[in-house]
Amino acid sequence: MKYAFYPGCVAKGGCPELYTAAVKVAEKLDIELEEMSDVACTGAGCMPTHLSDPINARTFAKAEQMGLPIMTICSTCQGVFSQANHRLQDAEYREEINREYLAEEGLSYQGTTEVKHMLWVLFEDLGVDKLKSLIQRPLEGLKVSPFYGCFLRRPGPIMVPTKEVGGRRGYLEDLTQLLGAENVDISGKTKCCGFPVLTANEESSLGMVAKHAGESKQNGADCMVTPCPLCHLNLDGNQPRAESLKGEKINLPIIHLPQLLGLALGFDADEMQLGKHIVSTKAVNDKVDMLT
């Protein structure tokens, strides 16, 4: 199994621990990664589509040349890619972009590149049996709130296009259980984390952090797991600010998806760089330590 690996800007910037964890975990799972180092940021919803579609078409064309599907580790990258790729299935539009933007570099996108988030790869390509066989430390007793955020599930017709991949609506819960941990449900697990509106309406954004993290804590979770580093930036990085806004302590560790996976695969907290988080992960570390 081999992928063109697209880590995204945040895993190379504000959340370096995500990159480290993803690479280590992939190796352990026999997922071969060839990192795409000469391609652009997706635009992350901050660039209008008339600017982002051409640069994303370029990325897809590069992967097509490599003959590999793309694997992402960021829901936002995945969401923007999926939507762009959906538009680029229109042959006329794709040809226009090839002609106007890609031809000069000798590239042409044929519309065949598949883009998959690591969470999807685990279930749809690697398979549950293989994954199970590699678990060295079932996370028994660890209480985890899955938090999807927006872009892995919506818009539905694009992100979960067929019945065959209908499981995408529950992979995160499935994975938590499969790793031996306990699911702690929260009402907002598929809602927005607030990150996209941090600029325009900070209070609203921090309100969402307080709501989700607070509810998870109240329901007894030890931590939250998310497949999206932007959710992580807000839920973890801005949790102290959300706390002061609401005037209450939350103190809920937020774990990246590959980190949780890594702990079950036998990596220790340092290897998964849990120390790089803003909210201390001590409660998680302690529980995991007891398991070994």
């Binding site: 800007c9 945040v10 190379k12 910037g13 504000g14 959340c15 370096p16 621990e17 180092s37 000469d38 391609v39 652009a40 940021c41 635009g43 992350a44 919803g45 901050c46 660039m47 209008p48 589509t49 008339h50 600017l51 051409p54 640069i55 370029r58 106007e100 933007y101 890609l102 000069e104 570099e105 955020g149 927006c150 872009f151 919506r154 818009p155 539905g156 907002g188 809602k191 927005c192 607030g194 990150f195 996209p196 509106v197 600029t199 325009a200 309406n201 209070e203 609203s204 309100g207 969402m208 709501k211 990085g237 801005n238 102290p240 600010r241 120390g275 790089k276 988080h277 803003i278």
Partner: protein
């Protein structure tokens, strides 16, 4: 068939406490949830308050949450909501103050927010003797958008409203879209339209979580419409200054290096001369630094020159 209705009750004349009443109702197999509510009011409890009008899914008046999912009582068949059990739960839609039982405050919920869109045209040639000549291809999307019921189902699913009730919400944004995209609103009027949708608590307060897309009974994809308007706004120049700084910094960063410089983005968004705004960032920056989380030097990527070329060409295309 015999079904059990469990209906939310709230009486402003009696303390406004919320509770549920339970009713057993015998209904035809093809009955709607509304049929049952009407039967309850007629035969069992004439104090029950709920709205309805067209009874055929055309007007948008009867939105409530049925088994916790917001939909119209007049088009929801009881057979479809009793597959898991004979109980039909009816509650007011979320994000909205209740007046009585299933009647909620549409003024605050929708009408006031719609009105904030200045939702009318004032053409200079209002009384011209003939119509505007417009190709059908330019009219179809506006017409479809105008099929919006203004029922509030999209607002019901909104992720922002629960934390900021003043957000104008996807419903009002769809109304705004109808004007922003109308081929008859040109020149200065188009700029005014954009300014209206970009007002505080408007276009840029949406988190584009795409919840609203799945909620619209008419399939109008309100979230996608918001994103389309952002694209238009971008081409015309974003009118919200802070958002404009954010977007410009973002794009410049990608243009110069191929990828996002988060540190620069955060500072440029606040405005490099905005000392107060920048000071607010300090605690977060300090926390990040102590965790070894601060991004390092922002290196230019291989391929960055091609990326820059593409973006610059695309910028000209507007």
């Amino acid at each position: 068939m015999e079904v059990t209705y469990k209906v939310h009750r709230e009486d402003p004349e009696n303390g406004g406490e919320s509770s549920f009443s339970t009713y057993q109702v015998d209904l035809p197999e093809d009955a709607t949830v509304l049929d049952g509510l009407q039967k309850i009011r007629d035969e069992q409890d004439d104090t029950l308050a709920f709205r309805a009008s067209c009874c055929q899914g055309t007007c948008g008046e009867c939105a409530v949450r049925i088994n916790w999912r917001a939909q119209f009582t007049c088009t929801t068949k009881i057979a479809d909501v009793t597959k898991k059990g004979p109980e039909i739960l009816c509650a007011p839609v979320r994000n909205i103050p209740v007046i009585k039982d299933l009647v909620f405050d549409m003024d605050k919920f929708t009408w006031d927010k719609m009105a904030a869109m200045k939702p009318w045209m004032e053409p200079e040639d209002e009384f011209a003797p003939t119509e505007n000549l417009i190709p059908e291809s330019e009219m179809a999307d506006v017409r479809k958008t105008m099929s919006c019921y203004q029922c509030g189902l999209c607002d019901e699913g909104c992720a922002v409203l629960p934390v900021d009730f003043d957000f104008l919400g996807p419903g009002a944004m769809v109304k705004g879209y109808r004007f922003v995209m109308d081929p008859r609103e040109t020149g200065a009027r188009k700029e005014e339209r954009l300014a209206v949708v970009e007002q505080p608590k408007g276009l840029w307060d949406c988190v584009h979580c795409y919840e609203a897309n799945g909620k619209c009974a008419r399939g109008l994809e309100p979230s996608s419409k918001i994103m389309e308007m952002r694209d238009v706004s971008f081409k015309h120049g974003i009118k919200n200054e802070k958002v404009a700084r954010h977007h410009n910094s973002f794009i410049n960063s990608v243009k110069q290096t191929g990828w996002l410089d988060e540190r620069k983005l955060v500072m440029e968004t606040e405005g490099l001369t905005n000392i107060g705004g920048l000071m607010k960032l300090v605690p977060t920056a300090v926390r990040a630094m102590t965790r070894g989380k601060m991004p390092g030097r922002h290196e230019k990527r291989p391929g960055a020159d091609q990326i820059k070329r593409i973006i610059e060409k695309a910028e000209e295309s507007k």
